[in-house]
């Protein structure tokens, strides 16, 4: 009976997953705190609580995410790209292409049957095309991040958004609000601008097989559906778990492999 954990400290949210015999027995998503260490502690604690086990029961734990170097309790750290690949494959065993959009970047990757990442692309330099972009916009529109995604479906005549920069797009959005354009049309324009940037990255890895999306933005149905249109392929919906925890889940899965000795040896 082995219990393992994975902890993903992201820029916006921190996630932890506890697994036992290949099953998720506890998980958590919390808003990240200024200090990654605190975030990690809090996320783990909550996950432990939901699993009903104690920290001492954890046999192995892998950390990942933007703040991975600062997590106090992990045995090892692994990159998000690898973890998301692993996690995605577990959630959707047929997935071959993974799109991960988190708070501060967007990555697309190909994975093999074990969930190992092959070619990948990440957007660099610019915040447009990240979850953060959507948050800023949701705030300007005065809707919650959940609602933002749903606006696309209600839109009649979506606006075209200057998509080059989060900050400038914000100015445009304000202008549209000011000129009385329905909020649905603006929201849809925002989701489309986002999807447009992601589509370039997705197409750049030449998606094959089933496509799966992880990270918080996977919960934005507007982005997801527009993206499907842009790439002309269906994106598989997650059923087994919340796609936002894919990174932490991947970390937990790698912990398990490590413990069972069937994972590759670390150099």
């Amino acid at each position: 009976m082995s219990i393992v954990a994975g902890c993903d400290v992201g820029s916006l949210t921190s996630k932890a997953v506890i697994m036992k015999n290949g099953k998720i027995i506890g998980s958590s998503i919390i808003k990240s705190k200024p200090r990654p260490k605190d975030s990690a502690d809090a996320a783990l604690e909550e996950a432990l609580k939901s699993a009903g086990v104690s920290k001492n029961d954890i046999k192995y734990c892998i950390g990942t995410g933007y703040g991975r170097e600062k997590i106090g309790f992990v045995n090892e750290v692994v990159s998000e790209i690898k973890c998301h690949g692993k996690g995605a494959r577990w959630m959707m065993p047929s997935a071959e292409t993974v799109i991960d959009i988190g708070g501060q970047d967007c990555k697309t990757m190909k994975i093999d049957k074990d969930g190992n990442a092959g070619r990948f692309f990440a957007n660099d330099k610019c915040a447009s095309g990240t979850g953060r972009f959507l948050e800023v916009m949701a705030k300007v529109l005065g809707v919650s991040i959940d609602e933002l995604g749903k606006l696309s479906a209600k839109a009649k005549d979506p606006i075209t958004l200057a998509s080059t920069c989060t900050v400038w797009a914000q100015a445009d959005v304000i202008k549209y609000i000011n000129s009385g354009i329905p909020i649905e049309d603006i929201g849809a324009g925002i989701n489309t601008a986002m999807a447009g940037r992601v589509a370039i990255l997705v197409n750049a890895v030449k998606p094959e097989g089933d496509i799966f999306m992880t990270g918080g933005v996977a919960k934005n149905i507007g982005v997801l559906e527009t993206l499907e249109k842009l790439i002309g392929k269906r994106i598989k919906r997650a059923r087994k778990a919340d796609p936002q925890i894919a990174g932490a889940l991947g970390a937990a899965l790698l912990s398990m492999e490590k413990l069972n000795g069937n994972g590759r040896n670390k150099q």
């Binding site: 933007y66 692994v78 990159s79 998000e80 790209i81 690898k82 970047d105 093999d112 190992n116 990442a117 092959g118 070619r119 990948f120 692309f121 990440a122 660099d124 330099k125 590759r264 150099q267």
Partner: protein, 397 residues
């Protein structure tokens, strides 16, 4: 090694200060198309302009527009901050559009900020093709440059002096070639960071001193036994201009990789081949500097560059290639995509990243991508190693 690291990580290292103290001139230049031997022949220190040590961009941004690569902007920033006050001259070449605009931006900044434009400021026109009339144009440009240097610095640059300069530079090229050979071995005794520092140092240090130091270093290297690459992946770094020791360190500090080769301006690619030591020295220089078609500004020569890269990959047994381009560098950005297409098709893992230059690089984001890439190589080499070596991959491709 320290002397190289010093030279590579400071805008003005000790040897330059010493040179100035001896009352000898220093002339800065941009890009890999300015034949440094000419300066040596006139006892002028050729100094390849760089942008390290900037801590802001207010001067750069005042003149350059927002959509420009940060490398030339950093040079302008340093100039504007008086960090290049040791220069007696500067030569701007139209390497790329960003670099050629440095000519105007620097001069314009000079109208606002006193004493930042060296007395000798020269625009050296380099054609984009090396065939017949292209080569002829370039040779004439070299001759013009020589005349202009002679007039301004009151020196004479004879053919004999040029040939002597070529010979001196070739010594360094040969030594660096030996270092390269060391990196082709199964066990590598020298880090990529150290090699790169030594290479960059060559673009700023007085050449005699450089040759001497290099010789010492190479002799010492050859005696080294301890392999530095145990358990590490062999990777190459290619793409946009780089003189950033930090970037090499960042990759090697992961503890999972050793850099076995590069293909960068400032790097070994220009030093790699020797220049003909007999015949007309100007023609020999022209053939070398314009003719080797080493960077994407020489349009239509992609296949040659790919061949060169492949050869490097094979001899250095690189397991993966990191391709970077500075944001707004379309030349390297597009070429990296082609490289990636062709190398991945042969089973060489490639990582393509866009970044900012030097002091403005976001180390955290860069690290993330590099780590993930190394994990990927780790995964693929497990399977690939069993089947094919790099060389076999090429042969079969």
């Amino acid at each position: 090694m320290n002397v190289f690291h010093d030279a590579a990580t400071q805008v003005q290292c000790e040897s330059i200060a010493q040179w100035k103290k001896d009352g000898k001139p220093v002339v800065g230049y941009t890009c890999s198309y300015a034949p440094a031997e000419i300066f040596y022949a006139a006892d002028i220190l050729p100094y390849r302009l760089r942008g390290i040590e900037t801590d802001g961009m207010e001067v750069g941004d005042t003149y350059f527009g927002p959509f420009i690569c940060s490398f030339p902007k950093c040079i302008l920033q340093l100039a504007g901050k008086g960090k290049f006050s040791f220069l007696d001259g500067a030569i701007i070449t139209p390497g790329c559009d960003g670099m050629r605009r440095l000519d105007e931006c620097w001069r314009k900044a000079g109208e606002d900020i006193e004493n930042i434009v060296p007395d000798y400021f020269y625009y050296f026109d380099v054609p984009h093709k090396s065939e017949n009339h292209g080569m002829a144009w370039y040779i004439e440009e070299i001759k013009e440059l020589i005349k202009s240097l002679e007039a301004h610095f009151k020196v004479s640059i004879s053919k004999e002096k040029l040939t002597a300069a070529i010979k001196e530079f070739n010594k360094g090229r040969r030594l660096l070639g030996e270092v390269e050979n060391l990196r082709f071995q199964q066990d590598i005794v020298v880090s990529g960071t150290d090699v790169f520092a030594a290479t960059v140092a060559g673009t700023v240090m007085p050449r005699d001193e450089y040759t001497k130091e290099l010789k010492k270093w190479v002799t010492a290297l050859k005696k080294r036994k301890t392999a530095l690459n145990t358990g590490k992946h062999r990777v190459m770094l290619v793409g946009s201009i780089s003189d950033e020791i930090d970037l090499f360190e960042l990759i090697e500090d992961t503890g999972k990789a050793i850099i076995v080769g590069e293909n960068l301006c400032f790097g070994i690619r220009y030093e790699g081949s020797e220049i003909k030591e007999h015949g007309d020295p100007i023609e020999a220089l022209a053939k070398h500097y314009l003719g080797s078609s080493v960077c994407p500004r020489m349009y239509g020569k992609y296949k040659e560059r790919l061949a060169l890269l492949k050869e490097r990959i094979i001899s250095s047994q690189a397991e993966g290639v990191i391709m970077q381009n500075i944001r707004f560098c379309d030349l390297h950005g597009a070429e990296n995509a082609l490289f990636e297409r062709d190398l991945e098709a042969m089973g060489i893992p490639c990582l393509r990243v866009e970044r900012e230059y030097g002091p403005h690089i976001d180390a955290g984001r860069m690290k993330l991508r590099i780590n993930a890439f190394l994990e990927r190589i780790n995964g693929s080499s497990k399977t690939a190693k069993k089947t094919k070596s790099t060389e076999e991959m090429f042969v079969s491709a």
